[in-house]
Symmetry: C2
Subunit: 569 residues, 2 copies
């Protein structure tokens, strides 16, 4: 847990200087990005700090006319969320009593217009935060972020840097603006986040889906796509960008571990592909779900790491960081990874605050792009977030993330338990939905005669839905066995898109019964599928927002709708 | 002062329905903008509000894990700034005592995580503000903005709307992204804001400067440029966009009144040009400067309006709104005006909060662009700003603007008075700097023998600098008579760029003497000049930030540097 940056001085630690420097990726910049000039007015900045200088150069208002004199906040304490909440919430009159209604410890702070030490790099004051500022934001925030990146992601090259933005959507939009030419091809996971696609589809870009399993994209498929790319036949250059969500992938929930990342990185390096890792769910890596009363098949070491994570203090913090899947940055010796982080899941989405970690060339060009678009993120957001982080401290922030993670783990357990209590489950049956030995859960109706389950399974039992219990993020990606529907084969014979027709019908039935899932087809990147495929319809279920009772209600309603839909007797 | 929108219900008032609807400007959208699809995930929103629906469709965190429990602010009262501050600050030990050190009245508010009436359109609560949200922002803010646009700008067509953004730079960037094709030509003022140019220059756009006077662009020049445009010769289509800063233009300080706007609008309509009016300084329209001891040449009616503006209450508020130069929106019967407003000058630049007013087609496309880039502005900024506006109320906000305006007027008076006290002034002498009968002030050194000024002016007197006292904004655009410099003609003979060499030398002399002005060449749009031209070098002086004492110091240092530079004996 060395720090590449000394938080108090902002200087890089010695050891990191020994790492290689980033390669030159100039030829990845698009034409417009190469054209971008530094903001000419900003050149004046260097003169402005000369002592005694009367500055009449900038067009900035006097802070005395800012209406905001002080801003204050009450924020939860860094340890407000328990590390090991009970599996079932305690019953109480209030549905959310045990977790949410009890007052949690809080801290308060006030940000003045003028702070006592205005020139300290860590100072946040409204006269600066609410003033025009460099697109890099208030120095105190990148200072904190560099310490975080250095300690948690440990990039494998020396001269990386961070740049704040107004959230990962903005970050990705700026990356697309920096690298993409009209009509380019961009590598994506076979199921992916449609809003990320919308960013580049307008530029007439072709998405090139790569098949995946429960760890994400399959290296052999990626290699095949790239090595067999025929620029003449395709009418466009080989993809130079991979957009990927390695942890708690949206929508599949897939999480990629270190070995797979090494393989993907090696291929991307060979074919000169920039890896854009979008990691909103990184801190929500929760590990596997174990059914009630089952024994886990974890090794002794794995179990020890898990137990350590329930402890307060440095041991627990270190165990948590160790448990996180290493970032692509951790294998990035060349500087070809652009990582997107956001405060949306770790603080609040409405902050519109995130950051990019990348090589110095990309950071410089992205700064130019920011200067003529968003400029710095809102000073309200950076001031509030920075002071909160400072109040918690680095270790406190890690403890906060562990509390958040435990909360998501609890919610994930709720929904998996709800499936276990509502359906009859069979494990590891449907290899076709998640290949490569992924743990899967197939759900059967409890309406089917119970005693039959003691017999050898036979054709009478209809598998209804199958999913892999998520290890991160906030989603379950659930495959519906629409091929088991009585009308399926007739529809297929008629040449209809049976899967789409039936899954859409089921989705509407569900909405009519007051359960709203996200339709899987929203996330379909349009290629052939390794996960699922024909005969399987998909829903993405988010477990981030429903209460314990709502979660059970939703799964029970889902079971009833499924019974009716599949004509289960 | 009718309102097109009823603030409490958000519905349009009857009278505005009688106005024409916007024309169809679809053919102004560029190729990428035509490609943009609505964010598919957002389609789910309509189902989410069904009562009893268990929503597992979105990927949103539970507000309980937002660390922010409450946000509070202490803000200045709407009437914190006097309407008629004294011309010279009262002396005190503290340099800023009279204006700034006295405690000003404040109000305080706290925004809870959960408000009592969460579904009211005007409710601001952190569980919503800090959550993912539509790109249109929290409904309460556009409600306020529509009332403001309706009452202050009074657009001349019915179906305009507003869209929030993260400041005017972001707004302009999105407009460029919406309308501009690579290589387009864009109309700008002959002197203009370089950051606005940087936004489109990367797209290999050509700026087409239009000559101006103290009211801004000259209609006859605009018409000439458009009517004589030879698409074949130029290799590009006729300009379809005008970027303009009509009030307190940056850098010239020019302000355009209604009659001129009508002429420009008519030409733009005839040649199908979209008018993009960027109005950061609109509320800082302060009117003319009258030297100490001089009588104003205002008419009785003008004087009455000015006196009314010093009164508290509705009469003063109405006089203020009446005194503002009508927006291009006010003559826009077709919906071809895109207006950019920002809270940067009226609240604080670090808010990163502004809005666009435009026709419904443009608003819809800009919303799509926002969805894949910034999304909604930061909830910290919208929550704080909206509640502040609600606390002040509409009339209170107008009173706040009047206080701000009075403060800028005071600062403008300081710097003009400083010139009057430091130089010998002659009025309306140099027509060539600001054509069309603009009031100009030419400054002569006080080092020249005083008694000579009683004589008929002769060649011994070197005019040093000339400017037109600004009527809005925060800048003086000051022309230096570099052709009076002893080396000027020698340099010209040698074929050097004498103006540039000498003004750059003067700028450096000034910086060495601790006065930093913005160099005029930053703002040169690269065409022929009606304002100034060869033999004149320019500086832009901002009077928004310096204290009274600093203002005098700066002007005095400037005078000394000028004397030395021009070898005045």
């Amino acid at each position: 847990m060395d720090s590449a940056y000394d938080f108090s001085t902002g200087s890089r630690a010695q050891y990191e200087v020994a790492l290689p420097k980033a390669k030159d990726f100039t030829d990845h910049l698009n034409r417009v990005t190469k054209n971008r000039a530094a903001s000419t007015l900003k050149e004046l900045y260097k003169y402005q700090s000369v002592p005694g200088m009367i500055v009449m150069a900038g067009g900035i208002p006097h802070p005395e006319v800012f209406p905001f004199e002080t801003l204050s906040a009450t924020v939860l304490a860094h340890d407000a969320f328990p590390l090991d909440p009970p599996r079932v919430p305690k019953k109480n009159k209030s549905v959310l009593s045990w977790l949410f209604s009890l007052p949690k410890p809080t801290i308060s702070f006030t940000i003045p217009k003028y702070a006592p030490k205005p020139t300290d790099a860590t100072t946040i004051q409204l006269s600066s935060s609410l003033q025009y500022a460099a697109a890099t934001g208030p120095p105190a925030l990148p200072l904190f972020l560099r310490e975080y990146v250095s300690k948690v992601y440990r990039p494998a090259y020396a001269d990386w840097d961070v740049l704040v933005n107004v959230g990962a959507t903005d970050g990705w939009s700026k990356i697309v603006n920096m690298l993409v030419e009209l009509g380019d091809a961009i590598l994506v996971e076979e199921w992916t986040y449609p809003s990320a696609e919308n960013t580049f589809l307008a530029y007439e870009c072709e998405r090139v889906p790569v098949k995946m399993d429960a760890e994400g994209i399959l290296p052999e498929i990626l290699e095949k796509v790239l090595s067999e790319w025929d620029e003449e036949k395709r009418g466009k250059r080989r993809p130079r960008i991979l957009y990927t969500i390695p942890t708690g992938q949206n929508p599949t929930g897939a999480t990629m571990q270190l070995d797979r990342k090494k393989q993907v990185y090696e291929i991307c390096s060979r074919f000169d592909v920039i890896i854009c890792e979008d990691e909103p769910y990184y801190c929500l890596y929760t590990g596997e779900w174990t059914p009630k009363g089952s024994k886990s098949d974890r090794s002794v070491l794995e179990q020890r790491l898990l137990d350590s994570q329930k402890k307060e203090g440095p041991e627990g913090n270190e165990a948590y960081i160790k448990s996180l899947p290493p970032s692509y940055l951790n294998v990035d010796t060349e500087g070809r990874v652009i990582r997107m982080d956001t405060f949306s899941k770790t603080s609040a989405p409405g902050s519109r605050l995130g950051w990019i970690t990348a090589n110095p060339l990309f950071i410089e060009r992205l700064t130019r792009i920011s200067e003529v678009s968003t400029q710095a993120p809102s000073g309200f957001a950076t001031a509030m977030t920075t002071v909160m982080l400072q109040q918690w401290g680095f270790d406190g922030y890690i403890r906060w993330l562990r509390g958040i993670k435990a909360t998501y783990n609890m919610r994930k357990t709720w929904i998996c338990d709800a499936f276990a209590d509502t359906f009859h489950l069979e494990f590891n049956q449907n290899k076709s939905l998640f290949p490569n030995g992924t743990r899967t859960i197939t759900c059967y109706s409890r309406q089917e005669p119970r005693n039959r389950w003691d017999e050898k399974r036979d054709a009478h039992h209809k598998p209804l839905v199958t999913f892999t219990p998520p290890t991160a993020g906030m989603f379950i990606f659930l495959g519906v066995h629409v091929s088991e529907h009585p009308d399926y084969h007739d529809l297929v014979k008629k040449g209809e898109n049976a899967t789409q027709i039936l899954v859409q019908k089921l989705w509407t039935n569900l909405a009519d019964n007051l359960v709203l899932f996200a339709p899987g087809w929203y996330f379909d990147a349009g290629g052939e599928h390794a996960i699922g495929g024909n005969g399987y319809g998909y829903f993405r279920l988010s477990f981030s927002i429903a209460t314990y009772e709502e979660t059970y209600q939703a799964v029970e309603r889902f079971a009833k709708v499924l019974d009716k839909f599949f004509h289960v007797k």
